[in-house]
């Protein structure tokens, strides 16, 4: 990635009542890229996002948006950011339109045409003049997205964005995010529990646990693959695998081999030569869920909170 990062988290740390909720977090986000933010409950996702949006003040370290510290140049830095933190809470007693007008006034330089444009983009034209209290959760999400896009942000932070959207809505939402990332070079940062969503949406993921960033990986790099081999006698299979120096895991009726594709025929030939009966050889691609659970050790609630 040769591009300049649009958002940088530098040694971000948050201590509340002696507990280190966020521990020395470093992360760069690039234009045009959708980054997923994963972590078990209580890992510090929301705290991190709140610090990135200026709702919380970091104990140490800083958030830099296009070279400007969020803390020192708040107004200018935050004007490049669009935010949906958890459920988009709107003023329920006003119409969707008045809500958008309200937020538009806080940004300046947003005219009525822009408001109408955003309303069209999120597909709320028909109900925009009705009170928000009559909206379904999905419609509120759309309105939430609309308010976050009003000022054409260069960086979009979304916390659980698809919560409450129907499948068609989620798909539309995903397509839309991909579009603004690709066409307008918007950098998107999405936190979600829905791993399958993140898998479909993101270019890379950052995983946080106990307030520490434990992994950042590109999503479309070669997916990790294992091969499941069911054969008898199992002891013999193990022996052969060991002799060939493969990593494996013994299961009920077979082995889970961590090998590359090219090694498979070699292994099968060896098994046949030794007279082992082979019932199945299956490639098994690890889903993000498998990887996630592996990384976070079963996803238990962060320890810092239980101590």
């Amino acid at each position: 990635m040769e591009q300049k990062p649009i958002v940088q988290l530098r040694n971000l740390t948050k201590v509340i009542r002696g507990k280190k909720l966020i521990d020395n977090l470093n992360l760069d986000l690039y234009p045009g890229q959708i980054t997923g933010f994963l972590g078990p409950n209580g890992a510090g996702k929301t705290t991190t996002i709140r610090m990135m949006t200026g709702l919380m003040h970091p104990t140490d370290g800083e958030v830099i948006i296009e070279g400007q510290s969020l803390d020192k140049h708040y107004e200018e830095a935050i004007s490049k950011v669009g935010v949906i933190v958890e459920n988009p809470e709107m003023y329920k007693y006003m119409s969707g339109y008045k809500n958008l007008l309200h937020f538009a006034r806080m940004h300046g330089n947003i005219d009525k045409t822009r408001i109408d444009e955003v309303i069209r983009q999120v597909g709320l034209e028909k109900r925009i003049h009705e009170k928000v209290s009559t909206y379904s959760l999905g419609m509120r999400q759309r309105l939430g997205l609309a308010q976050s896009l009003l000022h054409r942000p260069k960086f979009l932070i979304l916390d659980e964005p698809t919560n409450g959207l129907d499948p068609a809505g989620i798909r539309e939402f995903r397509t839309y995010l991909r579009k603004i990332a690709a066409e307008d070079g918007v950098s998107v940062f999405v936190s979600s529990h829905m791993l399958s969503e993140i898998e479909l949406m993101c270019d890379r993921i950052a995983v946080i646990q106990n307030g520490k960033l434990i992994d950042i990986r590109e999503m479309h790099s070669e997916a990790e693959t294992v091969y499941y081999v069911e054969a008898t006698p199992l002891a013999k299979v193990e022996e052969i695998a060991r002799a060939m120096k493969f990593d494996f895991l013994t299961q009920d009726k077979g082995l889970e081999l961590q090998v590359n594709k090219e090694s498979v025929p070699r292994f099968v030939a060896a098994l046949v030569a030794e007279g082992v009966e082979i019932f199945a050889v299956q490639p098994h691609q690890k889903t993000l869920e498998d990887q996630f659970l592996e990384m976070t050790g079963g996803g238990q609630i962060a320890e810092a909170h239980t101590k």
Binding site: R50, L55, H57, E75, E89, K92, L101, M106, H107
Partner: protein, 309 residues
């Protein structure tokens, strides 16, 4: 800043309670006016007969033996005024008049203060309770500006209600009681003087603004620090009702005169002081110091706070 106030104003008027308070105020004015008109003095005898009758009664009371000195001097004043009226041919006020109804309008400032306290107490805390604070504070507008817009909007609503209550009492007063008005007389240091009704009214009105301002600032402080409008309204009301009691209980201590509650400016008109020996400049200084303290705490807590709502 203008746009922010515009926003707050828009949100304010989309809430039912804002309208309810305005309507209550208007209904109270019309209702009170109607009540007064309906039950007003229908005595259409000549005012001389009435005054003479009252004069006779006062003299009889004074003639009794076991009356206390205060009452006696009150009666003597009354008698002197009545005799003066008859001699100089000055008609007294007859029942309700435009001016006395306007004085009711100024009394309504207490209502207006209560309503404005409700707004000031909830204008910050409601953003927290609905979660919209997250939407509000992730904008390119500093927290100080947002809080300022909310404070100014609270005062704007208060002044709007004051304007409405004055305009409504003027209209209702003119329609029901007309402009004609008798003359009120009073005895000052043994000299009979005409009461300057309008001057008194004006004085009462601007002295009431002291309590109005302090109540709003206090409610705004509690509302924004504790994010609970119920606590803010309750505490402000409690202090405005029991404030004089609190000051009285503490009046033997030296610091009693440094409590803002002891400085309701209306005392300078009524002449009854909770604490003896205070002067107008001293009271104004104390109120100003407290106002600044309230504001500093409000701003400091609003700007420093981590939003977790």
């Amino acid at each position: 800043m203008l746009k922010l106030i515009q926003n707050e104003w828009m949100k304010l008027w989309h809430q039912k309670s804002t309208w309810v308070m305005l309507i209550i105020l208007i209904v109270v004015i019309i209702g009170f006016g109607g009540l007064n008109k309906y039950y007003s003095n229908t005595d259409d005898r000549d005012w001389r007969t009435v005054v003479e009758e009252e004069l006779k009664m006062d003299k009889e009371s004074l003639a009794q033996e076991d009356i206390d000195a205060d009452y006696a001097s009150y009666l003597q004043d009354n008698i002197a005024i009545a005799e003066y009226r008859l001699a100089e041919n000055i008609a007294p006020q007859k029942g309700e008049s435009f001016a006395s109804f306007m004085s009711f309008g100024v009394d309504l400032f207490m209502f207006v203060t209560l309503f404005t306290v409700i707004i000031a107490a909830s204008i910050v805390s409601s953003e927290y309770s609905t979660g919209t604070i997250k939407m509000l504070l992730t904008r390119p507008v500093s927290r100080a500006k947002i809080l300022t817009s909310k404070l100014l909007t609270s005062f704007l609503y208060g002044f709007f209600l004051i304007a409405v209550s004055l305009a409504m009492t003027a209209i209702v007063g003119l329609v029901l009681f007309g402009q004609e008005s008798g003359v009120q007389l009073t005895m000052v240091d043994g000299i009979i003087k005409e009461v300057d009704t309008w001057g008194d009214l004006f004085e009462k009105a601007y002295l009431s603004l002291g309590n109005f301002t302090m109540s709003i600032l206090f409610a705004f402080l509690i509302g924004s620090v504790f994010r609970s409008s119920a606590l803010a309204i309750g505490l402000t009301m409690f202090l405005s009702f029991s404030g004089s009691l609190v000051v009285m209980l503490l009046s033997k201590y030296w610091f009693a005169k440094y409590i803002w509650l002891a400085h309701d400016l209306i005392q300078y008109q009524t002449g009854y002081f909770m604490i003896e020996g205070i002067t107008m400049p001293f009271s104004l200084a104390i109120l100003a110091v407290y106002a600044i303290i309230f504001l500093i705490i409000s701003y400091w807590s609003f700007m420093k706070r981590d939003v977790t709502a």
